[in-house]
């Protein structure tokens, strides 16, 4: 094995996007028949590097060798011919095509479709048996669950004879059980002699699934180590470049009176029930975390409470009813009712990317006396307030005139958090507070959320990152298929228990087979399909 040429060898790869250098002089090797992890923070350059390998971007400098042969990867077609397959973080599937059509697209045998489709149908069957990759070839992609869609992506790569498979953050959309299934598939692939590259920011996955791991930081390759010879603490330090606290420092909560009370809240969209009657409450001085895999109704719940999605049922803040549809169900009325909201997607919701920072700092509060005089906006007040907030929240660069799109993800998020926290809300809604944010900013934002709780405010936190939920929340509720499957004290639960709840299994004390979990998940996507 040691004599074999590396499956992939990169030498001196560099890539810039305008003034930003995403990859700096990167060299590393991946041995054949292994699962090789690449770990690094957001923006460390992992995805760029893999996109170069897949011919999606062209490197500015450096060379690539595949199985000992130097190769110039000019486009994806070359990469595919060289045996490289890629499963992107955001799937590249055509939603209204069938699984079969998606697999065949770009790899057709001839000008006419029928023969290609027939051959693909046969091969899919064989691949399904070989690797536990069962998918209905005639299902339309938009009707099947994300776990299934991911399998389609893997099948696409295998159908194109890939023997090196790259997966970019593959578990972000999966339940722990689905993730385990994925890793078993990857294990099968490895056993068949395929090489797998796993890109992730999750230390746990690296430790569980890989043979070797390369660490990237700020566009540079820091080190490649064997997984057996390292540990999570060391990897975290390599990733960040300093010692990190993997735990949030916080004292036990002292909950007061209920602030937010929700009962039997339901959301329907295009005839599909997204939230199917949830009830819960959040008290003053506590953080309620809502866990769950993306797409189980948490986003809709936040949007309803934020005022921009209609719902039925009842919700009160400090005993006062919130209108859930029609008049008064809008973001402005919610803010007037003392609700602040850090939305899940800062780029399309929380900020107007083409606005300067000072214009964003009053966004949503622009109608209040602080920022407007009569019908005109008070630009001076906005600018002064922005400068002050930038200083308090350590936003860099502290330039109120810079457009929001020109800040890094972490600094963008700090602007949103500063705006929402400094308006002295009774209830703070937070969605994915640290998505796409570097570790330094994550620590800062977590501290701010805890400080707000300690100041006696109620916090409702929605996150798909189980680690974040566990370390930040006082109580945890798990959503699955539009319902709350259970509530636990954060100090009395663990990942396994929450993972089962996330898969819709409520008797968490009993043992459960993976097949059972999978069947449950499949039932859910089937019911979603029927409703659609």
């Amino acid at each position: 094995m040691a004599d074999a040429a590396p499956a992939i060898e990169l030498k001196g790869i560099s890539k810039s996007f305008g003034p930003v250098q995403a990859n700096k002089d990167i060299s590393f090797k991946v041995m054949p028949g292994t699962i090789h992890g690449i770990i690094g923070e957001n923006g460390a350059g992992k995805s760029t590097l893999m996109s170069i390998l897949y011919g999606f971007y062209k490197a500015d400098a450096g060379e690539i060798t595949i199985h000992g042969t130097p190769i110039d990867i000019t486009d994806s077609q070359t990469a595919i011919r060289a045996g490289i397959g890629m499963v992107f973080q955001h799937f590249k599937l055509v939603p209204n095509f069938t699984v079969l059509e998606n697999v065949v697209l770009g790899a057709e045998d001839s000008g006419l479709l029928r023969p290609s489709l027939a051959r693909a149908r046969r091969e899919l069957k064989a691949l399904a048996e070989e690797y536990e990759l069962n998918v209905d070839p005639d299902a339309v992609v938009e009707d099947i669950g994300v776990g299934m869609q991911q399998r389609v992506e893997i099948l696409k790569a295998l159908y194109r004879q890939a023997d090196i498979l790259i997966l970019d953050e593959p578990t972000g959309v999966l339940t722990p059980a689905e993730a385990d299934h994925l890793f078993r598939i990857l294990g099968n692939l490895k056993d068949q002699g395929k090489t797998v590259i796993l890109i992730t920011h999750k230390l746990r996955e690296i430790m569980e699934a890989t043979d070797a791991v390369s660490v990237m930081r700020r566009g540079e390759m820091i080190e490649t180590v064997t997984t057996a010879g390292t540990n999570p603490t060391e990897l975290a330090e390599l990733m960040v470049g300093r010692t990190v606290l993997l735990q949030v420092d916080k004292t036990p909560a002292t909950p007061g009176a209920p602030v937010l009370q929700v009962s039997d809240l339901k959301v329907e969209h295009d005839g599909v029930a997204r939230v199917k009657g949830v009830s819960f409450e959040v008290r003053a001085g506590e953080i309620l975390g809502i866990a769950g895999v993306a797409g189980n109704g948490q986003s809709e719940l936040l949007e309803v409470l934020g005022g921009y999605r209609p719902a039925t049922g009842r919700a009160t803040v400090n005993g006062v009813d919130l209108p859930l549809s029609g008049r008064g169900a809008d973001g402005r009325s919610r803010r007037d009712a003392g609700i602040a909201h850090v939305p899940e997607d800062r780029q399309s919701e929380g900020l107007v990317m083409e606005f300067a920072a000072w214009e964003n700092v009053g966004f949503g509060y622009h109608h209040t006396d602080r920022y407007s005089r009569g019908t005109l906006m008070d630009h001076a007040a906005l600018k002064a307030d922005c400068a002050a907030k930038m200083e308090r929240f350590d936003v860099r660069p502290p330039n109120p005139n810079l457009l929001a799109k020109n800040f890094s993800g972490g600094n963008q998020q700090k602007i949103v958090v500063a705006r929402e926290m400094e308006c002295d809300p009774d209830l703070l809604l937070v969605g994915q507070p640290t998505r796409g944010v570097d570790i330094g900013a994550i620590e800062f934002i977590h501290q701010q959320i805890v400080a707000l709780r300690d100041a006696g405010k109620a916090v409702l936190l929605v996150s798909v990152e189980l680690d974040e939920i566990l370390s930040l929340s006082d109580r945890v509720a798990v959503m699955f298929d539009g319902r709350i499957m259970g509530e636990r004290q954060a100090s009395e639960t663990n990942e396994r228990e929450l993972g089962l709840l996330m898969a819709g299994i409520t008797d968490t004390d009993a043992p459960h087979s993976e097949a059972e979990i999978e069947a449950n998940l499949a039932r859910r996507s089937a019911s979603a399909e029927k409703e659609a």
Binding site: S76, V94, P95, N102, L105, G106, G111, L113, R114, K156
Partner: protein, 322 residues
């Protein structure tokens, strides 16, 4: 109302629907590939002018037709350049093309023929004439079916039959060929096509060029089949009506046929106020009749006839994500 009148109106319907059908299928190819084309109007106009001008000069309608197609293709090339290569705003590009055609046709026609922005009237071999299908004369006397075959089905110009043939052909290309699969994919999710190693740009250019050829047919039919020469602004909003028909048809070829026939029928009716008055027994203002196709377009767009979901990537230039 007698059979003859009905047949006359339906016959006119088919004629008037033909340019709409060509344009609608043109838009279909473009939009299924994700390129919104509001410039159908301009391409048709350019083709109408060039086909009439060249047919007038050469005396051959076939050379005229080819020139018309070349004219529409060059407009398509501009649209492709703006919306594919330079990732510009597809709506603005379309609007620019419409004005460009509107201005250029008259400027060139005026300096070329000096007839107030028209081309000379076409006659003889410089026009498409109606062809009589086999057996039409013989069967003419058969009651009901004879006149239907003779008046309605037979007796159109060759381009009418080409347009009708384009319907199954478009369906087949889109649904049964590799090209069609890729074309539909690029209009829904270009990243899927790109990562599969297929050029998004090439596919979209191909679609835009097909759109050019079909609008070329549409314009040539207007100037050399339906009428005998070019007059300024002779497309009169047909490009936009074709777009509305496309939405009505939910971007499907067979539905496009029925949608354009409906609009053709309305246009045919507006030419025969006597028929409408005879049926409705009220006085209909001719301005209302003129406006009828446009009003129906708005009604259709308002979605009172069912919701249409356009191709997902429509109108968005494809940029590789960072």
């Amino acid at each position: 109302m007698d059979l003859a009148t009905i047949l006359q109106v339906l016959d006119t319907t088919v004629r008037l629907a033909t340019p709409l059908l060509f344009a609608c299928l043109a838009g279909l190819f473009s939009e299924r590939a994700g390129i919104v084309d509001i410039g159908l109007e301009g391409k048709m106009l350019a083709a109408a002018f060039l086909s009439a001008a060249i047919a007038a000069v050469t005396g051959s309608v076939w050379i005229g037709l080819s020139a018309g197609i070349v004219g529409a293709l060059s407009m398509s090339a501009i649209h492709g350049l703006a919306s594919i290569t330079f990732r510009g705003n597809q709506l603005i590009s379309g609007v620019a093309i419409n004005f460009l055609a509107q201005g250029l046709t008259v400027v060139i026609a005026q300096s070329w023929f000096n007839q107030g922005g028209r081309t000379p009237a076409l006659a003889g071999g410089a026009r498409f004439h109606s062809i009589t299908l086999p057996g039409a004369e013989a069967l003419r006397e058969v009651p009901v079916l004879g006149p239907i075959y003779y008046e309605l089905i037979s007796g159109h110009s060759i381009l009418v039959y080409v347009a009708l043939l384009c319907v199954p052909l478009s369906w087949w290309v889109l649904q049964r060929t590799r090209f069609g699969l890729r074309l539909r994919a690029v209009g829904e999710n270009p990243a899927a096509v790109d990562t599969a190693g297929v050029s998004v740009e090439r596919l979209r250019y191909a679609a835009v060029m097909i759109c050019g050829v079909l609008t070329g047919f549409a314009g040539a039919y207007l100037a050399t089949g339906l009428q005998a020469g070019f007059v300024r602004d002779m497309t009169a909003g047909r490009g936009y009506i074709a777009l509305a028909a496309l939405i009505f048809a939910k971007w499907r070829p067979w539905a496009a046929l029925w949608a354009t026939l409906l609009f053709g029928f309305l246009q045919a009716l507006s030419l025969r106020p006597d028929v409408l008055e005879g049926v409705l027994r009220i006085d209909v203002s001719s301005q209302l009749l003129d406006a009828l196709p446009y009003i129906l377009t708005v009604v259709i767009l308002a979605g009172f006839v069912g919701r249409a979901i356009p191709p997902r990537a429509g109108g968005e230039p494809y940029v590789k994500e960072r």
